[in-house]
């Protein structure tokens, strides 16, 4: 299989225009003949449903929770980037493009990133038009702030609830299409399989989470907007219901999975407090604008922070990276924290945390300014830890946050299965090996509001699509496969709960496939994952029945898929003999401990083809060409 990224010709700034013009259109009168299936109601799914519904297609939108408004995107805090240059501080589309390619450590497709930067401008306009209450200055203009890894202010925000406001904007636009009869909502449905007929994606099998019934849905195109796979690490900042199942089942049906080892660890999360913990809470990285990160200079110093004098503190980010200081990109900040903790300088009961201190900012700007900027984050921190960050420094530690890898898509966001499009975090496309802050929201909305409606139309106009009903053999087979898996889980009647298995899997992933990876560790991880997977199928305990609301059964299916997917993630990390972005292999580092890329051998997208559970997948490579931004060693010093 050769991977064709279908990148349009011409200068980078004209590629998207050119593609839009090349694309075939669907006559407005014919659009109602097409049914489009969209799975997931985060920013990508809701905005795509709004856009395609408005064009006049009949959209079926599937939502795992009771309401589309609750999708995982809701919890994004910090903001969304756009190259508006409202601050006159040197921003431009080209600079946002450049920063994103560089921030991604030169493992993203230039053309996609450029389009993302171009569309960023329209996104803000669109959001304001739909009533998103972004923060404003006294004069009534939109406010901006600078956000992790950027030296200028291009981030738009709505208090610490940017994701919520953007999602509610997209949700409302989508519900407007429900109101107009163009979008039909299917809440409490989980997609369990993709149906492929004659090589084209033609439908999905879902489980109705209330009745337990398996349902078949037919359409002419399927859009997966199902988010990332962070919870393969068990503890992450992702929502409880975020999962890899939809993407994984599509992978098993032939969609290639790209760069699964590119996972992002966010430097500023509330540290783990015990085994009972079900998720980790992110403290927005915007806090690093005013907070200073430090640890004691003395090893295992147990004094409370306020008793440690200034000269005995190590502001290690400012020390190591004088020009970016506390604002270095996430991967760099995370590894630096781990390095200090590993060396014995970590703080807190477990030694697995570092301080994020606001004292200096409060003294300089006044407590009211800090309150206006971060109060809801400070309150959240206080709720969880019972400590007051206005008085004592926060304690933070890195946690799994975002996954850059995902299903492989071409420039049109189409996967290797014709008719299967993948949007938002679920695809691999724009962030390379590391995502810059405030750019995931941007990507979700670019994909959904502005890209899919053009490229899906082009597909529909050009494809020959036979009439298919849900009685087709492929639907029956997919439904039977989904049913067999449910039966298999219920049959085990073992002694260990799904959560125990999930936690064990998470430990393996965090210890061996986390912030620092080695060849021997990854080999060990693969063996451990396989053994755990075998145990799972022998000993998992799931109570209750299928024909009822049974969250534990849903959870079991998701963890079963993680058990398979985890192996691919580790394999990908093992094959990539270089360090880049979020993928850090200890064998490949510079003398001062920075990631060392190997552009001669690994400047490609690694896209894996499924060959069976536990068997070696086949690697396909899409070579990356850099015509605009010359790859160099990233330096934030």
């Amino acid at each position: 299989m050769t991977l064709d990224g279908k990148i349009p010709g011409g200068p980078i700034s004209e590629k998207w225009e050119r593609r839009k013009f090349e694309n075939k259109l669907v006559n407005p009168a014919n659009r109602r003949k097409y049914e489009i299936i969209i799975v997931g109601t985060g920013l990508a799914g809701s905005s795509a449903a709004a856009a395609l519904g408005e064009q006049g297609y009949r959209v079926k939108l599937f939502c795992i929770l009771d309401s589309p408004r609750r999708a995982h995107s809701i919890s994004a805090q910090g903001g969304i980037n756009a190259a508006k240059n409202y601050r006159n501080d040197g921003d431009s589309i080209y600079r946002l493009f450049y920063d994103t390619v560089k921030g991604g450590d030169y493992r993203a497709r230039e053309a996609n990133v450029y389009r993302l930067a171009q569309l960023s401008v329209d996104i803000i306009d669109q959001c304001v038009a739909t009533g998103v209450p972004f923060a404003r200055e006294y004069g009534g203009l939109l406010d901006n702030r600078s956000f992790g890894g950027a030296q200028l202010s291009r981030t738009f925000y709505a208090r610490g609830q940017t994701g919520q406001q953007l999602l509610l904007g997209a949700y409302q636009s989508m519900l407007r299409q429900v109101d107009a009869g163009n979008v039909t909502l299917f809440p409490r449905r989980e997609m369990l399989d993709l149906v492929v007929v004659d090589g084209q994606a033609r439908g999905i099998v879902t489980r109705n989470l209330i009745t337990g019934d398996l349902e078949r849905h037919e359409g002419q195109a399927v859009l997966l907007c199902t988010g990332g796979y962070g919870p393969v690490y068990y503890l992450s900042t992702n929502a409880i219901n975020s999962n890899v199942t939809a993407a994984w089942r599509a992978h098993k049906r032939g969609a290639l999975f790209a760069n699964p080892c590119f996972t992002q660890i966010h430097p500023t999360c509330i540290p783990v407090s015990g085994d009972h913990q079900s998720k980790l809470t992110l403290m927005s990285e915007s806090l690093r604008n005013d907070g200073r990160v430090w640890v004691p200079r003395k090893k295992e110093d147990t004094r409370p922070p306020e008793q440690i004098p200034e000269e005995e503190r190590d502001y290690y980010l400012e020390r190591r990276y004088p020009s970016f200081g506390n604002l270095v990109p996430r991967d760099v900040a995370s590894r630096a924290a781990k390095e200090r903790a590993d060396e014995g300088f970590g703080v807190g009961e477990t030694g697995l945390s570092v301080y994020l201190d606001f004292k200096e900012a409060i003294d300089r700007l006044g407590v009211e300014t800090i309150r206006a900027r971060y109060d809801n984050l400070f309150e959240m921190y206080k709720h969880i830890t019972a400590e007051d960050p206005y008085k004592v420094p926060m304690r933070i530690y890195p946690a799994i946050h975002y996954t850059m890898g995902g299903l492989w898509v071409d420039y049109n966001l189409q996967s290797t299965i014709p008719g299967l499009f993948v949007l938002g975090e679920a695809n691999f496309s724009d962030h390379g090996a590391n995502r810059l802050g405030a750019s995931a929201l941007m990507q979700g909305l670019a994909d959904g509001y502005f890209i899919a409606s053009y490229t899906v139309a082009n597909y529909l106009a050009g494809a020959s699509l036979s009439k298919v009903s849900t009685d087709h053999g492929a639907f029956k087979e997919a439904a039977a496969t989904a049913q067999a898996r449910i039966d298999q889980v219920l049959r085990v009647k073992g002694t260990r709960t799904v959560r125990q298995f999930h936690r064990d899997l998470g430990h393996i992933m965090w210890d061996y496939v986390g912030m620092a990876r080695t060849e021997s560790g990854l080999n060990a991880a693969i063996q451990k994952i396989r053994a755990l997977r075998d145990d799972f199928w022998k000993d998992v305990a799931v109570s209750g029945e299928q024909s009822n609301l049974n969250p534990m059964l849903d959870y079991a299916g998701r963890v079963a898929d993680y058990m398979e997917f985890a192996e691919l993630l580790a394999l990908d990390a093992l094959h990539r003999n270089e360090s880049c972005g979020g993928h850090f292999r200890e064998e490949y580092q510079t003398p001062d401990g920075e990631a060392r890329r190997d552009d001669d051998h690994y400047s490609y997208v690694g896209a894996w083809e499924f060959t069976g559970v536990g068997t070696q997948p086949v690697l396909h490579k899409e070579a990356l060409e850099f015509q605009e931004v010359r790859p160099s060693q990233r330096s934030y010093k």
């Binding site: 709004a50 304001v128 739909t130 209450p133 009534g140 636009s173 929502a239 109570s543």
Partner: protein, 254 residues
């Protein structure tokens, strides 16, 4: 604050499915770390039930950080429990004492039928928003975001209302099971913004009509909704709803 371990006695509403009778069932939750969240405590109880082959307690949650609005139960008679301005997932066990009895029930309202145990159907809220709770701006072609100035105070006020997470605690707290705070918050958010102005009148009329059609009750101004709102959305949003409705009436939109 170092964590302690406590034991609590739970009385939990168990109901096998919609339209089936339910009852309170007793459970003892042992060795609960005071660092746990309330939902993590329920996770622990569920682990025990599953190991015994019993059906786990069904409850909704997703973000577990107070923003998605998925979680919510009535804890000792109060929606989302004793902490003001917090959701059930943000409630921590350090708020309870060793040996304390805790009752846990689902939202109770005619328009939120119980699906199982603590899980209810809140799709009525989506239908209210779908009845005009949006701005009719097509995708693409929006003018530059800075071309309409919005005073900071107005943007902030709109954000205060837009902060609603749609959890339904306001309905659960109201003896009439009214949805005025939820509906009023969206009406206020959109009516404050210049972009929302053209559809103001029709929006309020349609949303209020849908709210009534869903069977939510009348507002009798007791303020229980405001007291339990995890986002501290004030009942001035209800006053705004009423004003907007009256304004629409004067203009003949009703």
């Amino acid at each position: 604050m170092p964590a302690k371990t406590i034991t609590v006695n739970l009385k939990v509403w168990r109901q096998p499915a919609k339209d089936q009778p339910g009852r309170m069932v007793d459970y003892v939750a042992k060795d609960i770390s005071t660092d746990m969240s309330f939902l993590e405590m329920l996770d622990v109880v569920n682990e025990d039930l599953i190991r015994k082959g019993e059906d786990a307690i069904a409850f909704d949650s997703d973000c577990r950080e107070g923003i998605c609005g998925a979680c919510g139960c009535v804890i000792n008679g109060i929606p989302h429990g004793p902490d003001a301005g917090a959701t059930t997932c943000q409630l921590h066990m350090r708020r309870f004492t060793d040996g304390q009895t805790i009752t846990v029930e689902p939202w109770r309202a005619k328009s939120f039928p119980v699906l199982k145990d603590l899980t209810v159907d809140r799709s009525a809220f989506d239908r209210i928003i779908a009845s005009g709770g949006y701005i009719s701006a097509g995708i693409g072609g929006a003018q530059d975001a800075n071309s309409i100035l919005i005073p900071r105070s107005i943007a902030e006020e709109a954000m205060d209302s837009a902060a609603c997470i749609g959890c339904g605690a306001c309905v659960a707290a109201c003896k009439n099971a009214a949805a005025h705070l939820f509906t009023g918050a969206k009406i206020t958010h959109l009516a404050l913004l210049p972009q929302g102005a053209p559809e103001r009148a029709l929006r309020v009329v349609r949303m209020v009509g849908q709210m009534e059609a869903e069977g939510f009750g009348a507002c009798s101004n007791e303020g229980e909704c405001e007291a339990v709102c995890p986002k501290l959305i004030p009942i001035s949003n209800i006053a705004k709803l009423v004003r907007e409705y009256t304004r629409a009436w004067w203009r003949g939109t009703t």
